[in-house]
């Protein structure tokens, strides 16, 4: 499994031709093909290329939505 550092993850922000990856609890998820992450943005609130571990508490959904996206790497938590 590929290991990402913060710099690599930030580049995967879904803009232009970049893929859209997000980190959550040490895993990196590919959300590029998710309808709700078009252009690397999730509503107006979240952007791809970042660690969203501490954001899910406020979301109107739980971890089950992430399970629909493939895990493509690891993001060691600091």
């Amino acid at each position: 499994m590929r290991r990402f550092d913060k710099k690599e993850l930030t580049r995967c922000n879904g803009e232009a031709d970049a893929p859209a990856f997000i980190a959550y609890k040490g895993n990196v998820y590919d959300v590029s093909r998710n309808f709700l992450w078009q252009g690397g943005r999730h509503f107006r609130i979240h952007t791809a290329g970042s660690d969203l571990t501490h954001c899910l508490d406020l979301a109107p959904h739980g971890e089950e939505m992430l399970e629909r996206c493939p895990v493509i790497g690891e993001f060691p938590e600091e």
Binding site: F35, L36, F43, R44, I45, A59, P60, H61
Partner: protein, 183 residues
């Protein structure tokens, strides 16, 4: 635009641009769902499909009503709908409720329907939480829509064998909660 109404909401600390965008995204979800449900309804045929058709039709009409009820609030708050319908479709708060690969698979149809309703329930719960005690008009509207979305979810969930909905299908007019915003 309702200038003072907008100022009152802003004063509560709500990010108005974010709220308007959420309302537009949910309006897009409602109208696109109305469209996709039209296709689902047309394909709900046969002994199993016919049993679900009427309830899918009620949900379809009520989703259109939700769109109609949301639009005035968007403009009151200084927002607007995109000029391009394709843009509007793609910014929907919920994924397209597309016809399953096998339209004769009624269970697959129900899963599409229940997923669409669950997405809506999540979305309006979020808006209610955001506006509670702050933006009374948007809260009132979102609560009304949420009431109907929860009922839709429970109808389809019941058909999927997840448990009783707790109520019967609509008798008489549609949109018992949202109706007051449409008069």
């Amino acid at each position: 635009m309702a200038k003072v109404a907008r100022e009152m909401v802003e004063k509560t600390g709500i990010n108005l641009d974010q709220l308007v965008e959420l309302l537009v995204k949910n309006a897009a979800a409602e109208l696109t769902t109305f469209y996709y449900y039209t296709i689902l309804r047309a394909n709900l045929i046969g002994l199993e499909g016919e049993g679900i058709k009427e309830i899918a039709e009620t949900a379809r009409i009520e989703d259109r009503n939700h769109f109609e009820a949301l639009v005035p609030r968007i403009y009151e708050l200084g927002g607007n709908l995109p000029e391009d319908m394709k843009v509007f479709h793609d910014l929907s708060a919920c994924p397209p409720a597309r016809l399953p690969k096998n339209p004769k698979d009624v269970k697959a149809m129900l899963k599409v329907l229940v997923e669409a309703e669950r997405c809506a329930v999540r979305g309006y719960t979020y808006i209610c939480n955001l506006t509670a005690g702050k933006d009374h008009r948007t809260y009132d509207l979102s609560t009304a829509i949420l009431n109907e979305e929860i009922e839709h979810e429970s109808w389809f969930s019941e058909f999927l064998g997840e448990g009783p909905s707790g109520h019967f299908m609509r008798r008489g007019e549609t949109s018992p909660f949202v109706g007051k915003f449409l008069r």
